[in-house]
């Protein structure tokens, strides 16, 4: 039997050193774990559709050079942090001036703060299930800690713009850690964008810790360039009566992978996870989500929609795990998929594991095409076939787009959708 492939040794060389000692130590330790980590192959259950797109070549191992010029990111209004190639660009950032909300770069942490952070990094993720988050932990060169003190409320969304300038091959490893104190509230927007055409990888980890009563909304907009492999993970730990809402909107690429893991650890916690994925050409997008109902009386609601055109491929794997003590759990998962061409493929798999007896759990998944009768009805009113296709495709995701709570993001999403429609539905 062939031994499972492991990571190119190029990834095992130490990355940049401009971090406090405790974080360097953590990174080194995580790096050691990578040495014999088997890479996902098609036999790896949670990577079976995606492993063939994963290209962890030597070239990918080099960190992208830092280019201090923030491009389109600057146009974003309000609070923002700009990462370029995985490094925060301080002069492009606009931080809120509030004494109960601290936003710090990893590089600016004191040793004591860094040591506390090092203790907590990776704690929101199941490392076995999110193998490649370990790569980020071993190689991040910068990152952001966002701390909300109890009752702190951020009055406007905080945009975190991750831009990669793909003038060379290589990778970026941005990292975000959010600590939302008791009854605090924040809306955090992560936008992933790129300039340049080279093949690069963006390997991200974003972690949220929600204390009792905290309320976090996370919008994640994956609009990386056409040659970008994006492998991202989001981990969420929720304490009593906290609320987490996520809106993940993604456009396809050579490889897009997002793992979202939510642990409802305190009674009465709730999460709402919305997702929209749009793929075309030969793109590939893979969403894996896990909701762990650990404590009783928690609610989860998950709604994901995939739209695949041409010969593209979208994957949704939604796991709900209701632990033995999680009585009175209420879990709803709904995944609908739209194939716009016969050459497109969508794979969906709900996975339910329920160990408590008094729970409400509903799930549904469908795969279909645009409805011919509806199309006929629309064109019989003089509406062009192109417009009819757009109306029906939008109808499929309208509800989720409408729920995105930040108008500027909604507009960006619509602009990207319109580009997709222009490319997908030609005028007859």
């Amino acid at each position: 039997m062939k031994p499972a492939p492991t990571l190119s040794t190029a990834f095992l060389h130490p990355a940049g050193q401009a971090l406090p000692e405790p974080l360097l130590a953590l990174r080194k330790q995580r790096g050691a774990a990578l040495v014999d980590m088997p890479l996902p192959t098609r036999k790896t259950e949670n990577w079976k559709y995606s492993s063939k797109y994963l290209k962890l070549t030597d070239e990918m191992a080099s960190s992208l050079p830092i280019n201090g010029k923030a491009g389109s990111a600057l146009a974003v209004p309000g609070y923002k942090v700009v990462f370029i190639n995985g490094m925060v660009i301080p002069e492009a950032c606009e931080y809120p001036d509030l004494n109960n909300i601290l936003i710090q770069r990893f590089g600016d942490l004191s040793d004591a703060e860094a040591s506390e952070l090092a203790e907590r990094l990776d704690s929101t993720l199941d490392k076995k299930a999110v193998q490649l988050a370990g790569l980020n932990s071993a190689r991040f060169e910068d990152g952001l800690v966002i701390r909300l003190k109890p009752d702190a409320v951020l009055d406007q969304p905080l945009f975190i713009i991750h831009e990669v300038t793909a003038g060379h091959s290589g990778s970026a490893f941005p990292r975000i850690f959010v600590d939302a104190g008791r009854n605090s509230k924040i809306t955090l927007v992560e936008e992933y964008i790129s300039s340049g055409q080279e093949a690069v990888m963006v390997n991200t980890v974003t972690e949220f810790n929600l204390a009792e009563g905290a309320n976090v909304t996370n919008i994640r907009l994956s609009m990386d360039g056409e040659n970008v492999q994006h492998i991202g993970a989001t981990g969420v730990l929720q304490q009593r009566s906290s609320r987490f809402e996520s809106h993940c909107v993604g456009f396809g690429g050579p490889l897009r992978r997002h793992d979202l893991q939510v642990r409802l650890e305190g009674e009465g916690a709730e999460c709402k996870l919305n997702g929209v994925v749009v793929t075309q050409g030969t793109q590939h997008y893979d969403n894996h989500t896990t909701i762990e109902h650990v404590a009783p009386h928690c609610d989860s609601e998950e709604t994901y929609r995939n739209i695949a055109a041409d010969k593209s491929h979208a994957v949704f794997n939604g796991r709900i795990h209701i632990h033995q003590d999680a009585q009175k759990s209420n879990a709803n998962m709904n995944n609908k998929n739209l194939l716009l061409n016969t050459g497109a493929e969508i794979d969906t798999k709900p996975e339910l594991e329920i160990y408590a007896d008094d729970v409400k759990c509903a799930h549904g998944a469908t795969i279909g095409q645009l409805d011919e009768e509806s199309l006929f009805y629309l064109v019989s009113r003089g509406i062009s076939r192109r417009e009819a296709n757009v109306l029906l495709t939008m109808a499929f995701i309208n509800e989720l787009v409408a729920q995105i709570p930040v108008d500027a993001v909604k507009d960006t999403v619509q602009t990207h959708l319109n580009q997709f429609f222009d490319q997908t539905f030609q005028e007859a």
């Binding site: 409805d371 011919e372 009768e373 509806s374 006929f376 009805y377 629309l378 064109v379 019989s380 009113r381 003089g382 509406i383 062009s384 076939r385 417009e387 109306l391 029906l392 939008m394 109808a395 499929f396 309208n398 509800e399 007859a428």
Partner: protein, 262 residues
Amino acid sequence: MLSIKNLHASVEGKEILKGINLEINAGEVHAIMGPNGSGKSTLAQVLAGNDAFDVTSGEVTLNGDNLLEKETEARARDGVFLAFQYPVEIPGVSNLQFMRTAVNSMRHHRGESEMNAAEFMKLAREVSKQVDLDPAFLKRGVNEGFSGGEKKRNEIMQALLLQPKLAILDETDSGLDIDALKVVADGVNALRSKDRGILMITHYQRLLDHIVPDYVHVLAEGRIVKSGGRELALELEDRGYGWLGIKDEATDADSALSNSAH
């Protein structure tokens, strides 16, 4: 205006229309009656361009243009409108957005400027009043959760907005109570014009109490077996289809149902 010559059409290899001939001139209202399953909706759908049906022979022209070679949307832009027997529910597309897109597609085709949201809203409110639909229906998904009668009024509303040259109304009267029937009939009468042809498909006489047709045709087993003036409808009302040699069990059963419902 509309000229149908020896039209044959089939669905899934089964011939449904077996040689239809019909001429409709501008300003005329024609009624087509006939038992269930005789091919009335098939005729309507074929005229609108539903490619689930195959036209195997025959000719259809609208003002001299070959209608059959045109796409559905082109027919609509040339002025063909079909009020569906079973209007389609489209959740996620608002009725307002749907109707505005339709009106603007037509305007665009005629080289007119598009109506903005506010202008269209004003127009849509007026027309919805005309068909007695609460403007709240504009915000709902297209036909989503509408009752049978609301769907029919929504169809008439679209006809009034689009002002077609040829309006084909497929059982727009069925499933309506007396009040709704009156509203629909008023709508159809409002559509009557010297420039417009109307083809009303019905299998009850009662709509014809409100809309007096110029011609009545009886369709049976894919053929027009009898044509006449309005008195033909009255005769059918009195005598049923039997005297024409048509099996009309379905119709009898249906009439019985409709009588008991009212």
